[in-house]
Amino acid sequence: MNAIKEALKNVSDLWSLMVGLKVTGRYFREPQRTVRYPWKALSNTDTYKGHLELVGGMKDPFKPRCISCGMCALACPSNCLTVVKRKAPKPTPEEEKALAEAKERGEKPKDKTPKDPEKFIYDFSLCSLCGTCMENCPAGALQFSGNIYMAGYSRNDFLFDLVVKMRESEAASPAEPAAAPAATSEA
């Protein structure tokens, strides 16, 4: 008796096949959920975490806010950052004189060295996008870019100087500083 019941259940379970066909039939008629990429791009890319980039200063959006302290490079678990500090400019003869006078008076000479880095080497192929550098930056000078179109032909294409990149973006952007997007966001 049980065997017959089981067999009948098998037969009645065949209905699930019809249900499956109904589901795929409905999906077949419904509009597509994908975006035809090269012609249409997605709009919800704001939350995308791309490679690192330098944040511009308050006054000049294309002058890095970075103070070349090297905390980011120290904190980076992947060792993908190298910060090269600027050398102090050679003092002119008048400045040298003033310096010597100040030293005689026992004053501390004012450091004229610009704080922004000369080079900010960033190896994207090593970066794990953990954000530790941003957390450890005392100046808030680093952020993730929203660049989703990162591509290259060789590994060296992912080894770049962020300072150079910033200069390039300055050259590429229109003249008005208000139009620069990197200036005010995420200090």
Binding site: N10, L17, G20, L21, V23, T24, G25, Y27, F28, E30, P31, Q32, R33, T34, R36
Partner: protein, 327 residues
């Protein structure tokens, strides 16, 4: 006799052309349907709505280098794809596309189709065996166990219909059916139709019974090692086999070329395409069965049902003969 010869020659050429065309169209249909079921567009770059995509794929396949793995049996390895494709051309010959529109009008058309369809298994076995590849061999072993098993209910369900029609000639079977759907054999033999469709899926290695090529388990099964047109021929043969089983189903159960208003061949092509579309839908709807389930369906369900159906049919046929009732 020469007239008959010329007829067969013309038929063969027509079949070879249509097999190629059907292959191209089916590739496109399959990918489009798969895309739409999965809510994506499918191919749409090459040509309007991607209709030229299969042509580009075919060109790519033809242009590819033919590889043979180390330790493979060279003769059997290259014989297998050819052997899978050649008998398919033969299978098309006795198919009645319209009234009198068939390449080979013989009494044993159905038998010829069933006999030569069995050769496909041999080619799968040879291909898998000669590849010197574990996946190929596993696929081949599965193909043999599956095809041999599914041939039996297929045969029994076909036999039930030919008992009623009293002929193995497909054209005769079609002529025995009427114009309207309720005059077709599917009304008197619904069980045989179901058994036939399920066994045909198993016989052509279509999902959900595509275990010989199960891509998630065996990479590509018996044709894992084949590249270029070696794979292309297997692929083409699979689609051609689909057309054959759908055509036979149309002729046996769905009234063949018979239908109201439209001319015969149009009805035939229409019915076959509908069945093909159904097979494509099956593939993208149902998950692949396990191998023990595959054999359980066959030996525990299809086979006994087919035998019972055949017994009942023959009983009623004899009864009708005794009582002189035509039904």
């Amino acid at each position: 006799m020469p007239a008959e010869f010329i007829r067969i020659l013309i038929g063969l050429v027509a079949v070879a052309v249509s097999v190629g065309l059907i292959g191209l169209v089916m590739v496109w249909v399959e990918r489009k349907v798969a895309g739409h079921i999965q809510r994506r567009p499918g191919p749409y770059e090459v040509g309007p709505n991607g209709v030229l995509q299969p042509l580009a794929d075919a060109l790519k396949l033809v242009g590819k280098q033919l590889f043979m793995p180390d330790g493979a049996d060279p003769i059997l390895y290259w014989l297998a794809p050819v052997l899978s494709f050649i008998p398919v051309l033969l299978l098309f010959l006795p198919l009645p596309v319209g009234d009198g529109l068939m390449a080979l009008d013989i009494n044993l058309g159905l038998l010829l189709i069933l006999a030569f369809a069995g050769l496909t298994v041999l080619s799968l076995l040879l291909g898998g065996w000669a590849s010197n590849n574990k996946y190929g061999l596993l696929g081949a072993a599965r193909a043999v166990a599956q095809s041999v098993a599914y041939e039996i209910p297929l045969l029994l369900s076909v036999l039930a219909v030919s008992f009623v029609a009293g002929s193995l000639n497909l054209a005769e079977v079609v002529k025995g059916q009427g114009t309207w759907p309720w005059n077709w054999n599917i009304m008197t033999q619904p069980l045989a139709f179901l058994i036939y469709i399920v066994s045909a899926l198993g016989e052509t290695n279509r999902a959900p019974f595509d275990l010989p090529e199960a891509e998630s388990e065996l990479t590509a099964g018996f044709h894992t090692e084949y590249s270029g047109m070696g794979f292309g021929l297997f692929f083409l043969a699979e689609y051609a086999n689909m057309v054959v089983v759908c055509s036979v189903a149309t002729a046996l159960f769905l009234g063949g070329w018979q239908g109201p208003v439209l001319p015969g061949p149009v009805w035939f092509v229409l019915k076959v395409s509908l069945l093909m579309l159904l097979m494509v839908f099956f593939r993208w709807t149902y998950p692949r069965v396990r191998f023990d389930q595959l054999l359980t369906i066959n030996w525990k369900w299809l086979m006994p049902l087919a035998v019972l159906n055949l017994l009942a049919t023959s009983f009623f046929v004899k009864l009708a003969q005794f009582t002189e009732v035509r039904w």
